[in-house]
């Protein structure tokens, strides 16, 4: 569960990124976070995984008080989350398999576990055939799939996706969204930031809309209505 209570984020210099956001996201929900560029979508995701420190308010993520969480305990929070950024952030000198395995490797998993889990994830995101290709040999959609698989490597309770379809054509975007829904059906809470109205309107999921850092809409079965 994620709870936000009057959360604000003001950058140095006074620019307001988030203003008094209050909402609750239940376990296993699928949320579309929509809004124009600069509306605060990425900032909201970043305060959830404490890349940005909220200026005020209360944030609870998977039972952890994010605001009070000391820096040295940050890994505890990150291990409960899977994070997918707009740029897939893959390591160029590693294959798709190795990029996914990397997340397990740095968490200290043994080789047997790394192999088994990475293969399962490759199947889940449907890139088994491209497992031993390097990022520059993969399409944008495939790179995003690898990035999602890596985010899922440590069995996160919540998957935070920051415009994962931002650089993809509509067909590939639909495939990625279908993949995220599949992951959501398995019990993982998914929050996906997007400004792609076609996806949101088709899928009929809960929508949180931000504008100038304010939460202006929160509705189930919502559509993308900002103009």
């Amino acid at each position: 569960m994620i709870k936000l209570n009057n959360v604000s984020l003001v950058f140095q210099g006074g620019s307001v990124a988030l203003s008094n956001i209050t909402t609750t996201i239940n376990d296993s929900e699928f949320i579309y976070l929509v809004g124009h560029s600069g509306s605060g979508k990425s900032s909201l995701l970043k305060v959830l995984y404490k890349e940005f420190e909220a200026t005020k308010g209360e944030i609870e993520v998977a039972g952890l008080d994010v605001i009070e969480l000391p820096k040295w305990k940050l890994p505890l929070l990150r291990r409960k989350l899977g994070i997918v950024t707009q740029e897939p952030q893959l390591l160029e000198n590693r294959t798709a398999f190795e990029n996914i395995a990397f997340a397990l490797e740095v968490m200290g998993a043994d080789n047997q576990e790394i192999d088994a889990k990475t293969n399962t994830l490759l199947e889940l995101v449907d890139i088994v055939e491209n497992a031993y290709k390097y990022p520059n040999q993969l399409s944008g959609g495939e790179q995003t799939r690898v990035s999602i698989a890596r985010a899922l490597a440590n069995n996160p309770m919540i998957l935070l996706c920051d415009e994962p379809t931002g650089n993809l054509d509509p067909d590939l975007s639909i495939q990625i969204v279908s993949l995220l829904e599949k992951i959501n059906r398995a019990g993982t809470t998914v929050i996906m930031a997007t400004h792609d109205s076609s996806i949101v309107n088709r899928r009929k999921k809960r929508v949180l809309e931000l504008s100038n850092g304010k939460l202006i809409r929160d509705e189930l079965e919502g559509s993308y209505i900002t103009n």
Partner: protein, 291 residues
């Protein structure tokens, strides 16, 4: 175990990418540690020698033979009463002659020409603190029983001053080179960390702890530092062993230094290089890790 493998593998990978910088770093650490090791060892050797000398005679008061032996006895008693004096031995003219013969027994011509009657009796004074020889000179000034005074304290003092100057200069120089080594390590790690910025970012995102992210860099810095220091210490030990059999050992100095002191010095340097590596790695990657 897997984590340890990861750390060692990544540290070695970093070092393989910039072998020249790694080599320069090790050399700088080596020179710095070698200077510290050799100067501290040299100081210990000089101290051992001066302690030996200091246990000997510090002031020789040659007595005027025209004065009565009672006056000599009184002078000995007053010397013994001074707090800075440890012992006073009376050396008769006959004993002085015996000593002279022993010292120059390889020069029979000289011995045949010397009139031993001119050798004065003397009081040989051992001080609690050899640097107090000036006090004795002052106290004996104008005493009619005294013919001449000679001291060894001044020579010892000069030698100790020279040694201390040498130690301070060499240690300062060692610190300067050590600082250069520190900058080299910091820069090497910073470059390595920047080249792995993306990797570090991903590690942070998936929940790797800061310590775990730092470990390969810490390993690298400590490894370079320990290798340099180990070679320096090895060379230092070899130099001391070599010096023991050298001409220096036969002439001025007795190259004696206890194994315990050398072991202490070795451990101290290794521990210092460990701390040095830890601090260098902390400074080197702090910015990249916190970005």
């Amino acid at each position: 175990m897997n984590k340890l493998t990861y750390v060692a593998k990544n540290a070695m990978l970093n070092m393989r990418r910039s072998p020249l910088i790694v080599f320069a770093t090790i050399i700088a650490v080596l020179v710095s540690s070698f200077l510290v090791f050799t100067t501290l060892s040299a100081r210990s050797i000089v101290e051992n020698n001066t302690i030996r000398w200091q246990n000997g005679v510090h002031v020789v008061v040659f007595l005027d033979d025209r004065v009565t032996t009672t006056a000599h006895k009184q002078l000995q008693e007053s010397l013994e009463s001074y707090p800075e004096v440890r012992t006073v031995d009376y050396f008769t003219k006959a004993e002085a002659a015996e000593e002279f013969k022993a010292l120059f027994n390889d020069q029979p011509e000289l011995l045949s020409e010397v009139d031993f009657a001119i050798l004065p009796s003397s009081l040989r004074v051992n001080l609690n603190n050899p640097s107090d020889y000036q006090l004795i000179l002052e106290r004996m000034d104008g005493n009619p029983a005294v013919k001449e005074i000679r001291t060894s304290g001044e020579a010892i003092e000069r030698l100790l001053n020279l040694t201390n100057t040498l130690v301070v200069s060499a240690t300062s120089f060692a610190f300067l080179i050590g600082f250069a080594a520190f900058i080299l390590i910091v820069n090497t790690l910073r470059l390595a960390a920047y080249s792995k910025k993306k990797e570090i970012k991903i590690m942070r995102l998936v929940g790797a702890s800061a310590t775990y992210i730092r470990l390969p860099f810490i390993f690298e810095a400590v490894f370079e530092s320990l290798i340099g220091t180990s070679i320096a210490v090895g060379l230092g030990w070899a130099l001391i062993e070599y010096s023991k059999g050298s001409i220096v050992s036969d002439s001025i100095f007795d190259i004696t230094i206890s194994d315990n002191y050398l072991i202490y010095l070795t451990l101290l340097l290794l521990l210092s290089s460990l701390i040095f590596g830890l601090i260098a790695s902390f400074v080197g990657i702090r910015k990249v890790i916190n970005d």
